[in-house]
Chain length 149, copies 5
């Protein structure tokens, strides 16, 4: 997933450098993000993970998300959480496609937050989703927060 | 939703300026609110979002709300959360109506918190809800905290 | 509910002053409590709310409670949460009675915490509940934390 | 429950003093623990509570536990949570027995944390539980964190 | 479980010292980790626990995990949570095998985080799991966060 995002970022534009930090599990992501903010002075972190299908995995994903939230608030900097749940697709091919597409769309969001915030305002309310089909516009504006993870 | 709220605010009164910050997803709202408090010195933030209908969306909405809570407590300033869940209405027309109405009613609340706190005390216990029908007064006073999101 | 509590407090004793802050929804309570602690130097806050019956309301109530917890811990001062859930009673008359009774009993608790802590120790383990019937004593002492919200 | 624990502590050993703080409900415990750490300079707190059987009680217990966790982390000192859920036993006699036994076993744990940490390491993996029957050893060591509340 | 991890660490490499802290229950782990970070200046902590099968145990595990998350974020250092749920295996022999295997695999992860981070990046996306069979690679890279607890 990180590779898809990095590829997409290079496709979109330049003017940034990328640091990478791999962790063994999704609950290890928040402290890794903190290290990327504090040691590497990153302006934004993308956190990639693939929670499993069992209840204990769902619980881990929630705790990881809460930790990512806490680190974002501590630093006042965005962490773009890119989680693809194993049970979001029925077969491995679709899952691989979803992981690639969602990573690329979130990479675009990450780029826009830092370099082109007006593009996000323009997209608000158009019903764009990361991965799978888009929902289409319902009303013309003001639906910030529409696009979900 | 932001447009409805801005329109309503202009209808109610003046004496304020509005800053706007669009994010790609609801879990990106809390850090955006922090930035609006710290960089833009906002006195109050309205956070608009539209959580989807799936369990993972409900979980995201909860994490976003917890983050909004944390930022409010850090700054001692109100964040008015205006979430319309996609499954609150059966058709798109009703959903659009609900988004507009709830945004306007919360805009009124936001205005009252800053400029007219006595109006909120007067309304406590009258059963007013944001969007849909109101519940009507049960007892005459003291039901602060009645109106839900 | 606030009116019932204030009436009860005046009935029990004096030596205090009351500040009141009304908010539009239960998730707005925690930051209001923080403001009452920091701006009004309150020694204790009673937070009144009436969560609705839907899952989204239950989730809001939980987030509000977590926020109240966080503010209490930040200040090292008690917030007495007085929530009456709409689905705790089948009809409006019983609900109104429950709101009044629970508010009064919690007002007594609030008073005792500040002015008469020994009364709380004496009551520990006697099975007193706020609203509805009491459970009666099971063992004679040491059941601090028995009385629930 | 506090009485059982105090009785057990006196049976085990001396070299400590006990401060007691009674609160009306389990969600009032965390701030009470903070006060015992900050005002009374306690080295460890035992928090006794009896959550009820309803969903709202379970939710309160969870929020209380999260608060106890937060206070522990703030002070870097242990809070031994001793909760007996009302629905852990079918009759009052068993419940009273469970409350006494669990309080005594947790008192032993509290004592060992402060005065005899090696005893805890020796017990790790032996399957001892607080209240009810013990599970028996499965493997010989390394099962720290086995004993549950 | 700690013994398996220590044995594995000694098998993998040297250049570190190990401090051990045993607690009576999983909810006591977070403050123990804080003490190991602050008093013992540990660079990383492995937290071993065995949550029981009941809903109250699952809730305790979640609260323990949230606490471990908070301590990690406070210190910007990793805590490797190694929990084996009692209901992950049907018989005690399998459970003992799982406890040993997961502890060893997490010990390897802990070692790599501190001494060999490149090994983690190389393994990302290969579908390795702690305990039980591995899932096998789906795509070649970028699946950091794949391996679950």
């Amino acid at each position: 997933m990180a590779s898809s995002a990095i590829d997409e970022l290079h496709r979109i534009g330049s003017g940034y450098t990328i640091a990478r930090y791999t962790v063994p599990g999704i609950k290890d992501l928040p402290v890794a993000c903190k290290i990327l903010f504090s040691r590497n002075q990153c302006d934004l972190v993308m956190a990639f993970g693939m929670p499993g299908p069992k209840p204990v995995d769902k619980s881990s994903a929630q705790i990881a998300s809460q930790g990512l939230m806490q680190v974002q608030i501590e630093y006042g900097k965005h962490i773009i959480e890119v989680f693809v749940h194993e049970d979001e697709a029925d077969d491995e091919k679709t899952l691989a496609w979803l992981m690639d597409r969602r990573s690329r769309e979130h990479a675009m969001n990450a780029y826009n937050i830092l370099f082109n915030p007006k593009a996000l305002t323009a997209m608000a309310g158009t019903g764009l989703r990361q991965g799978y089909e888009d929902a289409g516009p319902l009303i013309d504006s003001g639906r910030s927060g529409k696009i979900r993870h």
